[in-house]
Amino acid sequence: MPSQTPVLQVENIATRFHTQDGLVHAVNGVSFELKKGELLGVVGESGSGKSVTMMTLLKLLPMPPAEIYAGTAKFEGQDLIQLNLDQLRKVRGGKIGFIFQDPMTSLNPVLTIGYQLAEPMREHLGMSRREARQRSAELLDLVGIPLAESRLNDYPHQFSGGMRQRVMIAIALACDPQVLIADEPTTALDVTIQAQILDIIKRLREELGMAIIWITHDLGVIAGIADRVAVMYSGFIVEEAPVDELYGNPKHPYTRGLLKTLPNLKGKRAKRLESISGQPPSLNNIPASCPFAPRCPHALARCLQENPALVNRKNNHKVACWWEPDSGKNT
């Protein structure tokens, strides 16, 4: 169960990219907290800034073109944004683990799985080769790879996609991280394999009690595992709430729209899918108005003038919107 102490406090993070076509404002002031043992889901479409936000925390972006121009990220009493490369190395892969989307490209094809698993433990925990190898085998076993010991000498190409993603999880878990950041870890996988991975994550959470940030575009995946969900749009968090509250009582028109566009697997089949008209805005300017206003079915005059801040309405349900869903009950 998540406790109330935050392990990670992110405040007002803003990242932009200097490109040939001018500035791209990927993240425009994102704040959130991650409590101990909690699973925070971050949902958004491509270009919403969800991955860039998390990469910013560990400065995993190439700088330049990226520039982190505002914000703090407090982790164990230090600000991650201010750390230099040496200090960051101690955190990356150690106290904060990272799982990337594509298990095909994030493992080194010319090194054995055993080497890649042992590397963070030798680096961060100062383990001897033998200790690290033994622990590697335990880790592979933990993520459900059969005959773990004998597979340490295999190379990534000898594993299937789902197996590689398990290896990635094992690497991320190697140093007992307090925070695990998982960036679309199941997107490249088939549904039956995705179900296997989700099952492992659920089990590991109970066993190891780490806090997890889970980035995804799939509202279905997050419904089953998250404690709390943040919805991102155009570089802003537009809504954040405990999972039941968000799905049961979505307040932002974007979240409501997203949930309505999804076809159901059970129950009545909709005659026609509801859709959100238009497209996500370009990120070349920081919007002065609400970024969703041009697509919003409820846009008010105010929405086109001022960008709403993320405000706590009640029950820890935060929304960045001028419109009140309860005022006109006709959606």
């Binding site: 179900a195 279905g220 089953g224 799905y247 076809p263």
Partner: protein, 327 residues
């Protein structure tokens, strides 16, 4: 449903596609990837048949072989009473306007050096003898019908977003007023909020022009929404075929059951209560599929028989067919 009364537009019989694996200088054949391993189904006029399966199950290859974009190894594809696998190239070319395809990736399936007008107009140039002005009018009309501004004819694909590009691909497929369109994962590359737009468009067009779709996808919830009947593929074979209603309500094949239970539902309360069947292991390689039932190695209910004999194709209830020893 009045599907039974409608004519059969496309009949696929025991279709097989094997890709040879070769070795050495003389390209000696050492084996084959059995991408499609004997599939049969009918598509009725104005129907949407969903073809679902995981990556590598052969669903896209099936689509391509049906359109004769790849030659079949054996089997028949009968379109409007003519067997496409045995007619001459010239005859096949004359059939082409009636069957079109929409591809998965709108980025790769549009030539970046052609304008939208020439992309959509190309099939018209190939197959019809219209005057330039008539062709331009037709292109504008097509762009209009897929919800794009007809003024965009002189723009290039990179100037459009993913959803818009997919609309261009749809306009191109519609250009020759086809009867059958094979949609190969048309929404897989699009964002959630755009997917619904494209699906609605495809449904409107079907209504308006009386189109028949073979809708290939891995997205089970979307297939449920769009398809009248659904065929589930696993490792080159169809394991279950039924009306959408019956398949989602009472899935019979253990694979369909597992697949449905693996799809996440966007409702945390339901998710917590769900009892998942989690399949073990991975899909075996199609170059060396298990003997007997292809699913036997991962099937939670497999019996001795399943490992030896491939299951026959049976109709369990009206219109609900399954290939499984246990059902």
């Amino acid at each position: 449903m009045t599907l039974k009364e409608r004519n059969v537009l496309l009949e696929v019989k025991e279709l097989v596609k094997h890709f040879p694996i070769t070795r050495g200088v003389f390209r000696r054949e050492v084996g084959s990837v059995k991408a499609v391993d004997g599939i049969s189904f009918d598509i009725h006029d104005r129907e949407t048949l969903g073809l679902v399966g995981e990556s590598g199950c052969g669903k896209s290859t099936a689509g391509r072989v049906i359109l004769q974009l790849l030659p079949a190894t054996s089997g028949n594809v009968i379109f409007k009473g003519r067997d496409l696998t045995s007619i001459t190239k010239e005859e096949l070319r004359k059939q082409r306007p009636q069957m079109q395809m929409i591809f998965q990736d709108p980025q790769d399936s549009l030539n970046p050096r052609m304008t939208v007008g020439s992309i959509v107009g190309e099939p018209l140039m190939e197959h019809q003898s219209l005057k330039t002005k008539e062709r331009h009018e037709r292109v504008e009309q097509l762009l209009n019908s897929v919800g794009l501004n007809p003024k965009f004819t002189n723009r290039y694909p990179h100037e459009f977003s993913g959803g818009q590009r997919q609309r261009i691909g749809i306009a191109r497929a519609l250009a020759l007023s086809p009867d059958l369109i094979i949609c190969d994962e048309p929404i897989a590359a699009l964002d959630v909020s755009i997917q619904a737009q494209v699906i609605n468009l495809l449904e409107d067009l079907q209504e308006e022009y009386g189109l028949t779709y073979l809708f290939i996808s891995h997205d089970l919830s979307m297939i449920r929404h769009i398809a009248d009947r659904v065929a589930v593929m696993y490792l080159g074979r169809i394991v279950e075929l039924a009306s959408s209603q019956s398949l989602y309500k009472t899935p019979l094949h253990p694979y369909t059951q597992a697949l449905l239970s693996a799809v996440p539902i966007h409702d945390p309360k339901q998710e917590r209560k769900r009892n998942r069947t989690i399949l073990e292991g991975d899909v075996p390689s199609p170059s060396n599929p298990p003997s007997g039932c292809h699913f036997s190695t991962r099937c939670p209910k497999a019996e001795a028989k399943c490992f030896k004999e491939p299951p026959g194709w049976r109709e369990v209830s009206k219109g609900h067919q399954v290939a499984c020893h246990i059902v």
